[in-house]
């Protein structure tokens, strides 16, 4: 290590030698940085899962434009839209086709007594172009009464429960006193609102949600003609549809708006964002503490170096060298432990908590930046090293 650093710096790696000389201090500093990294990784992991589960339902849909109730928050948390809006929309130039989408939360008890809540999507079986290919392939089968596609990622349901289904053997379960038969699977995963997803035909949906009417779907999906600008179709729809009761967004725009809503307006998003901030501050404070005590403990030695003719750049270099050593040595264990906790967390909660390269790189760069800031703060103490005081 020393040899490598000597080669890199063209001088003795004083910062590294100094840090590694005091093993207890090094251990404290490294665990501090690792802990801060862990905090940030966990918060980002959960935020990522929140975002992932917010976006996940969109992967089941295939549409250009979404017409929703004006007071709706997100795709899965919204009021109803009058189906007449769909017929109005079909009259707008540039609109090629439209279909209703029904969404509702369906709680049910499993045979072992645990209750699971499923987000049910009722789709129009006559419009395969509005759903993902996996669902489209099963639309014909879903036309049979009370059949469903079941989410294999459903939280609280062991994967083994789906083995038979995956081999093509349907199984039935009770919901709201009615029998539902799962005839196929899909992979969406649970979120913060529900444990998993269920896709049924609009007819089946209305049978299970007695209070919902076919005249009031949750959203209206719209496909635009090829070669027309989506924005202009949105504008024309907005001109026709009453702004006080519906909003018109591109599907992409709706997904982005959902993300923004979940991370800035929902307490969960704000709390986890705040957690990231706390992690960063904890890291900066710990590294600053370590580096500034290290500078303070070595003031005489630094003053001696000043008397020997070392200038300010040398001392800044030493402190930053220490900061970078701490960043690297703290990041590695923080990262490894986070991987373990991610696996544990997603196993326990069924949330899609996973590491991706861009997050790892981002956190590493953030760690370097935070350590550099701490180092910069700690260098102010160097001014106390006055060679005239040595004699």
């Amino acid at each position: 290590m020393s040899r490598l650093l000597t080669y890199l710096f063209g001088r003795l790696p004083i910062g590294w030698l100094q840090l590694s000389h005091n093993k207890a201090r090094l251990a404290a500093a490294v665990s501090g940085v690792a802990f801060a990294n862990l905090l940030v990784f966990m918060q980002l992991g959960i935020l990522g899962a929140l975002n992932g589960s917010t976006i996940a339902p969109y992967t089941m849909l295939s549409a250009d434009i979404l017409v929703s109730s004006e007071d709706g928050n997100t795709l899965t948390d919204s009021g109803n839209v009058a189906r007449t809006r769909m017929f109005q929309a079909l009259g707008v130039p540039g609109v090629a086709s439209a279909a209703p989408l029904y969404i509702g939360n369906l709680p049910f008890s499993m045979t072992d007594g645990t209750s699971v809540s499923l987000l049910a999507f009722g789709v129009d079986t006559s419009h395969p172009s509005f759903v993902s290919p996996v669902i489209a392939a099963s639309l014909g089968a879903l036309e049979t009464e009370n059949t469903a596609l079941l989410d294999t990622q459903t939280r609280g349901v062991p994967e083994t429960a789906f083995h038979g289904l995956l081999e093509g053997k349907p199984f039935s379960f009770e919901v709201n006193g009615q029998t539902m038969t799962a005839i196929g699977t899909l992979e969406v995963g649970g979120g913060f609102l529900a444990d998993g997803t269920l896709v049924v035909s609009d007819q089946t949906f209305l049978r299970f949600f007695e209070r919902r009417s076919s005249g009031a779907p949750s959203h209206i999906l719209i496909k635009a003609n090829d070669n027309v600008s989506l924005d202009s179709v949105v504008e024309r729809l907005e001109a026709v549809l009453p702004a006080q009761s519906v909003k018109v967004q591109t599907l992409e725009g709706a997904a982005k708006a959902d993300l923004a809503f979940m991370s800035t307006e929902r307490p969960t998003g704000i709390i986890f964002g705040f957690g990231v901030l706390i992690g960063i501050i904890v890291g900066i404070v710990i590294v600053y503490q370590v580096l500034s005590t290290d500078v303070a403990d070595h003031l005489r030695e630094y003053a001696t170096f000043k008397a020997m003719g070392y200038g300010q750049p040398f001392f800044l270099g030493v402190v930053f060298e220490e900061a970078i050593v701490l960043a690297i040595f703290g990041f590695i264990p923080g990262f490894v432990v986070s991987l373990g906790l991610y696996a544990g967390l997603s196993a326990v909660t069924g949330l899609p908590v996973s590491m991706d390269a861009s997050r790892a790189i981002l956190v590493f760069l953030g760690t370097l930046a935070a350590c550099t800031i701490s180092g910069a703060l700690a260098t102010r103490r160097l001014a106390g090293a006055d060679p005239a005081d040595l004699f």
Binding site: L17, Q18, N22, G309, P387, L390
Partner: protein
Amino acid sequence: MTENAPIISTGLNHSFGTGEARKQAIWDVDVSIARGSLTVLMGPSGSGKTTLLTLLGCLREVQDGSVRLLGAELRGSDEAQMVMLRRRLGFIFQAHNLHESLTASQNVLMGLQVHGAGNARMQLEATHHMLEIVGLSDRMNYLPGSLSGGQKQRVAVARALVSNPQIVFADEPTAALDKESGLNVVAMLKALGQTRQTTTVMVTHDNRILELADRIITMEDGRIVNDAET
């Protein structure tokens, strides 16, 4: 001859503190020190020896009067110029001030690396040679924590001398040592000064060192009261 002296001070005054608490520690010091000489500064405690040494040695800003060090005027010179000048000097302090996390040879190496990266192998050789001269060739890779007081001070001497400084300033370098290792260190300084034509200015009370001095300057209350060539 005085013109070329490595250290020349004229009308040098220095005060500490401001206002009521202002206290003058150096009064009107004129001194010129010849190349290659060993000059000893003597005098009672508080007489201004250390203050004078730090002024002549470019470690303290000159307030009033003039110090010409190796041809450069210190009065009004900026930090960068002082840093460059210090690289041509060697300092030995009462405390060894070794870096505890660096081995003996790494500490000495620091005295060389200040002059730039250079050839690593040559630096290492010079370092080992210097440690041999101070009799520590078998302690090169020891940390200061496992060296005796005398050995540490010898490492400090090696660190000060390894870059072949033109002037060595030492302030009671033997005060923390027992008599034998103290004399050892000074004899070494004297010998090196002679072979390398190094100018040495040293504060000391040690009588046996006075015998080795070329010149003895005595201070009292911030003034030079006696100046004798021996």
